[in-house]
């Protein structure tokens, strides 16, 4: 399985993400944002960082990078896309996942460990996770306060678009609506996630729960690939 990690000017989790993707058993390569091509990878990851310095609004300028048209085509043809932290902000600004990430309600940049509940076990992102298991991962963001109007939140929930929520004991760190930490698009293959699985990918980092998620995703992508091959 091939993974491409997009490198924007200001990305700073790209190397960690490449490392974690390789640990999860994939062939992972960086994709420079000015190359309008995702080079046939199965999964595109938009990593964390501060693309374009977060100028104007987090994620908005990265959305216009040449590679984003290819990422959109990849998503629309059923390819997998995971946006982590700043990558989630880019996906939201591009309209590839629903919602917007506002400034944290705490008025602070929040960098700490949180816990996530898994809201559905049948998504390609979560099907390999042990049922009932919460995931411990770090966050590091100033704009992670998830927002959608109430009616659209109901619609998102009823179609199973919420994959992860902030859970006790640490709870909601940023004021996100309904404790939402991760969402997916209607096809279920494009996911935006605020916490950093790549920063929890080995026990020596304090948790390897992120690796559980990445391995689950690798398995989910492989199952989806076999379904296509069989069809």
């Amino acid at each position: 399985m091939k993974v491409g990690v997009v490198v924007f000017p200001g990305s700073n989790c790209d190397r960690d993400t490449l490392h974690a993707a390789r640990l999860a058993g994939t062939e992972a390569e960086p994709l420079w944002h000015e190359t309008p091509d995702v080079r046939g990878v199965d999964l595109v990851v938009l990593p964390g960082g501060f693309a374009y310095g977060d100028y104007l609004r987090a994620g908005v300028l990265a959305r216009f990078s040449p590679i984003m048209a290819a990422v959109r085509d990849h998503a629309q043809s059923g390819g997998f896309v995971l946006g982590i932290c700043n990558g989630f902000q880019v996906l939201a600004e591009a309209g590839l996942v629903p919602g917007a990430l506002r400034r944290n309600s705490t008025l602070r940049f929040e960098h700490r460990w949180v816990r996530l509940s898994v809201e559905r076990g049948d998504s390609p992102y979560t099907r390999g996770l042990p049922p009932g298991r919460t995931l411990r991962m770090p966050i590091a963001h100033g704009e992670g306060n998830y927002y959608l109007p109430e009616g659209e939140l109901d619609a998102l929930e009823s179609r199973g678009g919420v994959l992860f929520r902030y859970a006790p004991p640490e709870g909601n760190p940023n004021g996100s609506a309904r404790d939402i930490a991760g969402v997916c698009d209607t096809g279920g293959r494009v996911c935006g996630l605020m916490p950093h699985p790549e920063r929890a990918s080995e026990a020596l980092l304090g948790s390897d729960d992120g690796m559980l998620l990445l391995r689950s995703l690798v398995e989910g992508v492989a199952i989806a690939g076999r379904a296509v091959a069989a069809a």
Partner: protein, 89 residues
């Protein structure tokens, strides 16, 4: 073609928490200023557009405002010709 200058004012939508505005408001007592409430912080973008006429220039600015300068989910915006803004100011 002529040059047309515009001002785009972007604000958080009414009713949506504005943490910047709240931070400013919370700092005001340190300045011994009281009686100030409902502080909201937005963004002002100025730009010049080359176009055949004002209508065409304005159409470009309206598009940029909705796609780039503001996020329609959480923000509102107003476009005005810079000359009018300057005159009003």
């Amino acid at each position: 073609m002529s040059a047309h200058r515009f001002v785009v004012a972007v604000m958080p939508k009414p009713g949506i928490l504005d943490p910047q505005g709240r931070a400013v408001e919370q700092a005001l007592p340190h300045l011994e200023v009281s009686g100030v409430s409902d502080v909201r912080v937005g963004r002002r973008v100025e730009l010049t557009v080359e176009a055949p006429d004002t209508m065409a220039a304005r159409a470009v600015v309206e598009r940029l405002a909705g796609e780039v300068f503001a996020n329609p989910i959480i923000e509102t915006w107003e476009v005005a010709p810079a000359s009018l803004v300057a005159a009003a100011g």
